[in-house]
């Protein structure tokens, strides 16, 4: 009589579980913190007791019913390997309080190094300051008049063609310039004047570079008319617009003008034969 053997095996599947917000399935009977049972270390040479792992009877997880238990017996023998490994590649741990010896890196000449450092800083400063000064002065020079403009701004007069006691009017920078070749009598008169009492006190020596040559701008200091030469009460110039009288040194003596006739910058050149104004 053949025995009947049921081919069907009943399997109780776990119910579908819900997941926790962290994504882990909610399994209240499963202790996830427990260590997994140590595998038998099976490399084909059979199960042997390992010296570095506690044997099963000493500690470890076990399954009781439907729960996992992790139990360690207090009297379990120590299982760690106490053999010290003398061959290793990691750095040997030193005492943390031990400061490394930096004396090989220390300089033997701190004063010289300090002086050199400051010297380098100072040199940088010197070069920077020089560059800044050069930049500014070069930039300001671009605002100065160029050489051709300066050349046009000068006027050369041949003095040999002006006889004594004569006036010459030339144009310089759009303005008339009076040049008078004064006689010795006129020079004496201009010098004898008590100039300290004048409206614009100025000595004759301060107004001329050479006493026989009087050079001044022919613009009345009152309102800018051009005075007439060899006229007026003082033998000098007379402004017809409002009646200012200038003496033979160009100083204001009478009338509304407040100042003496202006003296431009000029110089004599080439053995006093020529006069350069400007």
């Amino acid at each position: 009589m053949a025995s009947f053997k049921a081919l069907k095996t009943a399997v109780s599947l776990a119910p579908t579980v819900r997941a926790l917000p962290s994504g882990i399935p909610h399994a209240p009977l499963l202790n996830l913190a427990v260590r997994a049972p140590h595998d038998a270390h099976d490399h084909g040479h059979g199960v042997e007791a390992r010296s570095d792992v506690a044997p099963r009877w000493a500690s470890g997880p076990s399954k009781v019913g439907s729960q996992l238990y992790s139990k360690t017996f207090a009297s379990a023998s120590p299982t760690l390997n106490h053999q010290q490994r003398f061959m290793h590649t990691s750095v040997s741990v030193k005492n943390a309080n031990e400061v490394p010896d930096f004396s090989a890196y220390r300089t033997s000449n701190p004063d010289g190094n300090r002086a050199l450092s400051y010297f380098m800083v100072g040199s940088m400063g010197v070069i920077s300051a020089s560059a800044a000064k050069s930049s500014i002065s070069e930039f300001l020079q671009t605002m100065a008049a160029s050489a051709d403009v300066l050349a046009l701004a000068k006027v050369e007069v041949d003095l040999a063609s002006i006889p004594e006691g004569k006036n010459v009017i030339i144009k310089w920078r759009g303005k008339p310039v009076f040049i008078r070749h004064r006689t010795p009598g006129e020079i004496e008169e201009a010098r004898q004047t008590d100039w300290k009492t004048l409206r614009d006190p100025e000595s004759d020596d301060a107004r001329v570079k050479k006493p026989e040559w009087l050079v001044m701008l022919g613009v009345c200091t009152h309102l800018g008319c051009v005075p007439i030469g060899e006229a007026g009460d003082y033998g000098g110039w007379f402004c017809p617009c409002h009646g200012s009288h200038y003496d033979i040194s160009g100083r204001i003596r009478k009338g509304p003008a407040p100042l003496n006739l202006e003296v431009p910058a000029y110089e004599f050149s080439e053995a006093d034969e020529k006069l350069v104004i400007g």
Binding site: Y118, G122, A129, S130
Partner: protein, 61 residues
């Protein structure tokens, strides 16, 4: 180093002295630099500039 200590105490120790030394040094450096460049330029262009050949064309009267 006695020399470096001397320099440090003379120049670098006080910032006022240090900064004024820098400014004076910049002034001197600018003058010296300009003079040196001018000298090099004149020697490099010797015989080409007007001041070198002026004597050939201008007779002092």
């Amino acid at each position: 180093m006695a020399l470096s200590n001397t320099i440090y105490n003379a120049v670098f120790k006080r910032n006022s002295v240090f900064v004024s030394t820098i400014f004076i040094g910049a002034f001197a450096f600018g003058i010296g630099f300009d003079t040196g460049v001018q000298k090099f330029w004149d020697s490099y262009n010797k015989g080409k500039q007007w001041k070198d050949i002026r004597g050939k064309y201008v007779q002092e009267s």
